[in-house]
Amino acid sequence: MKYVLMFTRRPDLDATVDPEVGQAVYKKVYEWFQENGDTFTDSGAELLGIETATTVKHGEDGPVVVDGPFNEAKEVVGGFSVIDVADMDAAIALVRTWPQLELPGVAVEIRPMVEDYSQFDE
């Protein structure tokens, strides 16, 4: 299945992050894209509705999986990727390793992509 990953962050929390930690995470982000290159596709995407959204958020004791889209008013989408993996559990497993989840205010929303356009031919 194809999923769009939306990487969101809270710019207002940037000041709380030690610059050295930020730098180290940025380096790990670069490596993450290298390591997981196989799962990424380069196409654009149309998303299914927000009721299909799942978000993996920064949590005190490691990433937390929740139902629904990111919804804090101060969150901004920093970028997005399209991945092609077997199922939702595979998408979550990949997202959990996203290095920026170490940082407060970071979340990644997972949305399935519209792949079957026949559902619109009524």
Partner: protein, 414 residues
């Protein structure tokens, strides 16, 4: 058909549904590659069975009857989606290939999908009750005292998300298994507490608490290396073993100190102890095993006075390290006060330290009242009692209390 025959058929149906429906949903979902359709087909078969069996009596082989009806409904649903005629033809002509999974594997995989963290927490239990346990939406709505339409919408949304978001009907990989199992055990525990709270309510046509005990056993036997699964199975087994003594002849709630222990199910208590031993052999302690160990202390004590309070205090102490819920500390303080009169003042200090977090909780004030009475501080005790009563004064608040009971499971053994 007489009432008695109808009741008999209901009991048989409930048993059959609980054994068969989860397995049927999982099998049909794989065969038709559509969880939503499979679940709908089984749900319709359940409703048909309720009607037909009440009218005509139960068939000789209820499981086969249900399977045939569900499969028939699934094919019907496929045919109705006319675009997919080709699929219907293919599925009819190809019998499902045997892929090595057993009925238990199928059911546990379905349970993990229904309790997936990507689903809204309030939908997980409702979906589990429908898809895995074979309850109908009206039965679930009655058990939870919620609006049927709201509940139906919640279930539809959750089912759609499983299909559209690609949530697989599989047991999670080893590296996330214990975390995902935590979500499953939370749902099964909630199911028991819902059943416990509503057990004296009207129109109970399913024994929700009994179904939860059964499901906890299914989870533990399916994942025999998971100590916490055995822990929850043991806990619910102990709690359920005391069910017969929990209400007096006139229907009033009887708390643990006053229960007639000869009415407890001592065979079930022995079974619970065996489960707890099994968990201990796995050397992976956790909160469900600790709660079960506390319940075991109560279940095996000859009387309230002869309960091993020292061990209970120690177990609550360890549990508090796992579970930050202030009710755990409240229960620890109560156990401490039973060690002897010299411990009561210390117990009251511990309870008072929880005031900020538990001020709206009626059992906090009721506990304070009891401790103050034992210290001879009668005026303060009376004030605490008034506050406790004010928090439980009418039916709406009773319902609120019921809600809180399920949020804070009954570790005090009532």
């Amino acid at each position: 058909m007489s009432d008695r025959a109808a009741r008999h058929s209901d009991g048989l149906l409930a048993h059959t549904l609980r054994e068969e429906s989860g397995v049927l949903v999982a099998r049909l979902a794989r065969q038709f590659r559509d969880f939503d359709l499979a679940e709908e087909a089984v749900q319709t078969a359940v409703t048909e069975a309720l009607e037909t069996w009440r009218r005509q009596g139960a068939p000789d082989n209820p499981a086969a009857w249900l399977q045939t009806a569900a499969r028939h409904n699934a094919l019907d649903l496929v045919r109705r989606r006319s675009r997919q005629d080709a699929l219907a033809t293919r599925v009819v002509s190809e019998p499902a290939a045997y892929d090595g999974t057993t009925a238990t594997d199928d059911r546990i995989a379905l349970l993990f999908a229904c309790c997936h963290p990507a689903l809204a927490p309030e939908a997980r239990l409702a979906l589990t009750l429908r898809a895995v346990v074979g309850m109908t939406t009206p039965q679930i709505a009655r058990a939870f005292l919620v609006n049927e339409r709201t509940l139906a919408q919640r279930i539809v949304r959750a089912k759609r998300k499983i299909v559209t978001a690609g949530i697989a009907l599989t047991v999670p990989a080893d590296d996330v298994l214990s975390e995902r199992l935590g979500d499953v055990l939370a749902v099964v525990s909630l199911m028991y507490n819902e059943g416990f709270v509503s057990s004296d309510g009207p129109t109970q046509d399913r024994d929700l608490a009994g179904d939860a005990v059964w499901l906890a056993g299914v989870v533990a036997t399916s994942l025999p290396r998971e100590a916490e699964a055995w822990g929850l199975a043991a806990l619910l087994t102990f709690q359920h073993a005391r069910a017969a003594a929990r209400f007096s002849a006139d229907g009033a709630l009887v708390l643990l100190p006053d229960q007639d222990r000869s009415r407890w199910d001592h065979r079930a208590i022995a079974a619970g102890e065996a489960m707890l031993e099994r968990a201990a052999e796995l050397h992976a302690s956790g909160p469900w095993q600790l709660r079960a160990a506390i319940a075991a202390c109560h279940a095996t004590a000859p009387s309230w006075a002869e309960t091993d309070w020292l061990q209970i205090v120690a177990l609550f102490e360890v549990l508090a390290a796992h579970d930050p819920n202030p009710v755990v500390r409240l229960n620890r303080a109560v156990a401490l006060s039973h060690l002897g009169p010299e411990h009561v003042a210390r117990a009251l200090d511990d309870v008072d330290a929880l005031a900020v977090r538990l001020d709206e909780y009626h059992l906090f004030h009721a506990t304070r009242a009891q401790l103050l009475t034992r210290l001879g501080r009668d005026d303060e005790a009376a004030a605490a009692n008034t506050r406790a009563l004010a928090l439980t004064g009418n039916d709406a608040e009773r319902r609120l209390l019921a809600t809180r009971l399920h949020r804070h499971p009954l570790t005090d053994g009532s």
